[in-house]
Each structure stands twice: as C-alpha cells, then as structure tokens.
Chain length 315, copies 2
C-alpha cells in the first residue's frame, strides 16, 4: 500500500469492471403505505436505470410496510443472500434491524440510509436533507410572508415521535422565536389525511386568528380538502407543506397553498446510487454535501416528471 501511495497509482475501475463483466446489484427498500411520497421515490428509482442494462447496474426495489421493523428485518435477512453489492433503506430507529444490517455489512454489502437517518455506526452513510434546516426554511418563508406583521401559525405533524418531524418542528420554532409570530397548539395527524382534516377543521374554528399553517408531515390531502372548502370571503391562511406530489402540485397551481418544500428525491436517488457505486468499487467517498431542499411556488414548478427523461442519469 505504501508503494501504491508513493507511485500515485490509481486503479482503473473501467478496466477492472471490463475484465470481469462486473454488474452492480443494488436494492432500494422503500416503505409501502399511504404515503404518496414513497411512490414517487419508487418511480424515480425505476426510471434511473435503462432497462437494457447498458450501464451494468441492476436495481431492485423492495417495498415493506411502513413503520414495521419486524417486516423490514425479515426483508433484510432475505436480501443478505441475494448477491447484492449494496442497499439503500429508509432509516428507522428500531433495534430489531440492527442485527440484519450488521449481517449484511459483514457480507460486504454496503448499507446506506436514505431520507431518514439512522445511528451513524450502523450504516455506511446517509443521503437526505437536514430536517432542522427544512423546518427553519418553512419558518423563514412564513415570516417573510407576514412582512413583520403579527400572526399565528398552526403546525401540523404526523407524530412528534418521528425524528424527522420533530426536527422540522424544532427548526421551525427556533426561526419563529425571532419574529412577531406566535405558534398555535400543534396538531398530530398521524400522516393520515382523514385525521388531518378533522383536527384541522376543529383547530381553525377554535382559533380564528390563525394566519398560516405549516404542515411538516404527510396526509396533506386532508389539509388541502379543508383549504378548498374555506369560506372565500376572507383571506385564507398562508400555507407551507412538504413534498411535491400530485395533490400538492395541484393545490399550488390552484392557489390553495403557497409553498412546497421538496426534498428532491431525484437528487437523493442519484446521490445514493453514486455513493453505492463508490462503496462497491472501494473507491474513496466524496465528502458529503448536504442536500438542500427545493422551495417551490406556483411560478417555478418543474415540468412533470417524465420517467423517460431520467434515463441514463446513473451514468
């Protein structure tokens, strides 16, 4: 190794791969459930790799019931014999997956956390946004929309026990603390649109002074239903929510909401694949840059994702 360093030798990965007809086998394990965001992630993963295998990358997608650590553990055990080079999983904090992950890594399979982080020692890296920053951004935009005037903001989350939701609310609160805005009692909607709808209706009646809503979690279809049925004789609250999905895009276009903060899953998938390849090649890893979430308003919505457009992005 010292000679290698002295000579400045760098292994030619292309030649090495050519010599053994290397195929990279990766798997994305993605929660399945009511959350449309993960459907979007699946679509993206399905679209990154040309189906003809030109790029020698084979990607498999497994879906596992959301929040079900036992099912995830079982899936990981099965995958550990599937001759994979690496997997990406959406991190959850549950001791039941520790051993399966350790087994995989012992077998030389790289394990990355995506979207939601895991304890550092458990995996080879994390690709995702900083949720505290995302929440602070939401707070900043809400503050901006009030232009210094007072207001009252209603936060909605799935559950504060979910680390990402808690972090978003944390960043949000810290940002609002420096403003003239007050915060209404938080709603926990369990990421279910029906619960979000019910609780939100009640909250808006109970507290007519609300000037803005920040939804840090999922279940926004319920939120949008409420907004669509608000009386039109007075201005609706300003609304910020997360993830660009069919219903949030529609709501933006219709003017029912004002801002969508998107974690750019395309970028996350792209970087995850790049990292998985680095790990598979035992190449030095690029220093991790944080993914900055995108801010969307009506005017800068990107074109709808045409899966064909993603082809070749794994190259």
């Amino acid at each position: 190794m010292r000679a290698v360093a002295d000579l400045g030798y760098v292994r030619n990965v292309a030649a090495a791969n050519l010599s053994q007809r290397r195929v990279y086998r990766f798997c994305f394990v993605i929660p399945e459930g009511t959350n449309a965001f993960f459907d979007r992630v699946c679509k993206i993963v399905g679209a990154v790799s040309p189906p003809d295998g030109t790029d020698r990358v084979q990607i498999r997608v497994e879906r596992v019931a959301a929040f079900d650590a036992a099912a995830l553990a079982k899936c990981l055990i099965e995958l550990s014999d599937a001759d994979l080079d690496g997997i990406a999983i959406v991190g959850i904090n549950d001791a039941r997956i520790d051993t399966p992950i350790a087994i995989m890594r012992d077998k030389g399979i790289a394990v990355l956390a995506m979207i939601s982080d895991m304890p550092e020692s458990l995996c080879d890296g994390y690709i995702g946004i900083n949720n505290t920053t995302a929440g602070a951004t939401a707070g900043g935009l809400i503050a901006l929309s009030h232009g210094g005037r007072p207001g009252r903001v209603l936060p909605i989350v799935g559950a504060l026990t979910a680390r990402d939701h808690a972090e978003r609310i944390d960043g949000f609160r810290k940002t609002l603390a420096a403003t003239a805005l007050t915060i209404a009692p938080l709603i926990e909607g369990r990421d279910r649109h029906d619960l979000v709808e019910t609780h939100l209706r009640a909250a808006l009646v109970a507290d007519p002074a609300i000037t803005a809503i920040y939804s840090a979690g999922a279940g926004n279809a319920g939120l949008i239903r409420v907004l669509a049925t608000l009386p039109s004789d007075r201005p609706r609250p300003m609304v910020v929510l997360h993830e660009l999905l069919p219903h949030s895009r529609d709501a933006l276009e219709q003017g029912l909401i004002d801002i969508v903060i998107d974690q750019r899953p395309e970028e996350e998938v792209r970087r995850t694949l790049a990292l998985l390849r680095c790990l598979a090649d035992r190449r030095p890893l690029p220093a991790a840059r944080q993914i900055v979430p995108a801010i969307y308003i009506r005017q800068n919505l990107p074109a709808e994702v045409d899966p064909a457009l993603l082809e070749g992005s794994a190259a």
Copy 2:
C-alpha cells in the same frame, strides 16, 4: 445499422475508451469582467475534475472579455485547432461568432451554450435556466411577501437589451400583473455596482412608496451598499436578487436582503459536462430537463462551497 438495431447491440464505451486510452478534452469559454458570478463558475469548473486526470477528462478554461464578440470569435478560432472534443460557451447573439462556431462543429467539436442561450441551429444544446420562469418566481415571492396588501416594486436590470435580463423582467411583470402591486420605473444599472448604487439612491428618494426591489442583473454590491445605509427607523423594502455570491450571501445572513434566486451553476456545469461526454461518445442524448433555479433565504443557505467537495462529480 439495421443489423445493429435488430440485434440490440450497444457499444461498450468503457471498453472502447480503454482500447485507445481515450482522453476527453473539453473547454469552457467564460466571460471575464466585473461579474463575480462568472468567477464562481470558473471555480466550479476548476473543481469538478480531479487534477490527477483519473477520470480521463481534461478541462481547459478560457476567459474572454465580456460582451466582446470579436474577442470571442478569435478565441474560438484558436480553440478549433486545439484538438478538443467539445466546448461550452456562454451564448451571445452576435453574427461574428457564427462562422467560428460552424468551423468548430465541422471539425467535430461539440458546442454547447451555457447560462445564456444562442440560436438553436448554431449549437448542439443549451444548459441553463429559463429566465422567464426565474423572473416570474421573483415576482411570485414578492407578491407572497406582501400577503395581498398593495405595494410598489422597483425592478433593476443591467440592460434590457440583454436577452436574459429582458426575459426575467418579462416573467416578473406578467406575474405582478395578477396582483395588487405596481411597478416603479425600471433602473438600468449596466451591471455596474457604482451605477446601480447611484440610480437606486435616487429612485428611493424619488419614490418613497417602494416596498420591494427586484434586481434581475448584476452589480448587486451597489444595491447592498444602499440597503446597508438606509435609515433604520422604518422597514426596508423587501429585496430579491439573483445569484448566490459572497456579497449576496453576506447580505442574506445579515438580513439586508430577503431572497436570492440562484441558477445553481454547479448543476449547470455538471450537466454541461455530462452532455459534452454524450456528444463526444456519440451516444444518444438524454432529453433535456430544465434547470429549476434555487430559492435561498437566510435559513436554507448551503454550506460554503469547498472545492475539494466537488471532486469526482464528473464521474
């Protein structure tokens, strides 16, 4: 070719490159002048490729006086004999560069327009943002910050003869037309901070009702100087400007301005290189997705760019 199609044969670029020790030679031709944005672009280009040439990509950067079509033409003529595979130039509309570009393309050198577009037939593609959208985004954010109340917005550009500036103002006007906001007479600052400063001071005195400023061009150091010296006894106008640069970042952090719309030159350079490689390999080009500019506020500023972090991003 029909046999190729029938058999579904796809050329293995890695093997082909290996066999002939292929080196990709690209050149970025970037304007030189007072504009700090292009210095940033240069830094990014300089940082994408590892200096040891591991990735077989050699990137050269040429700087040419801004707005000087004759100088650009001369540079292109020289480059056409430099054994390049492709170049990226910042598009300008001037017939004097048509022939040099045609010559380059005749020699098999791919020519891409970056940041600013050129007539379609002239080059092999364009990588950059949609400036009409960017202007509309600025307008949308300013409208949002007024929350339905009336206001008066002052637009500043370098010159309306510059296509990108004109497009931004166009998108901006169209968006504001649907709001309660009025537009003050436009300032042309020629992208020079001294002129921007002088004109802006005068405009703010002449029109005390101004509630927001949209700077679509460069020379924002002058704008920021004015903001820093405004009387603090009443709220300053809301400010939106373009490009994340040292002084605009500082101004955001200090609360002198509210929003920066950034065209994400890292992404532009990355995609330009990817396209240049496709063209050099005569591979099918990925369908062009538009680059959506990023919206930055104080809370979601990305970490300062450490050049080392970009290493390997050309892979």
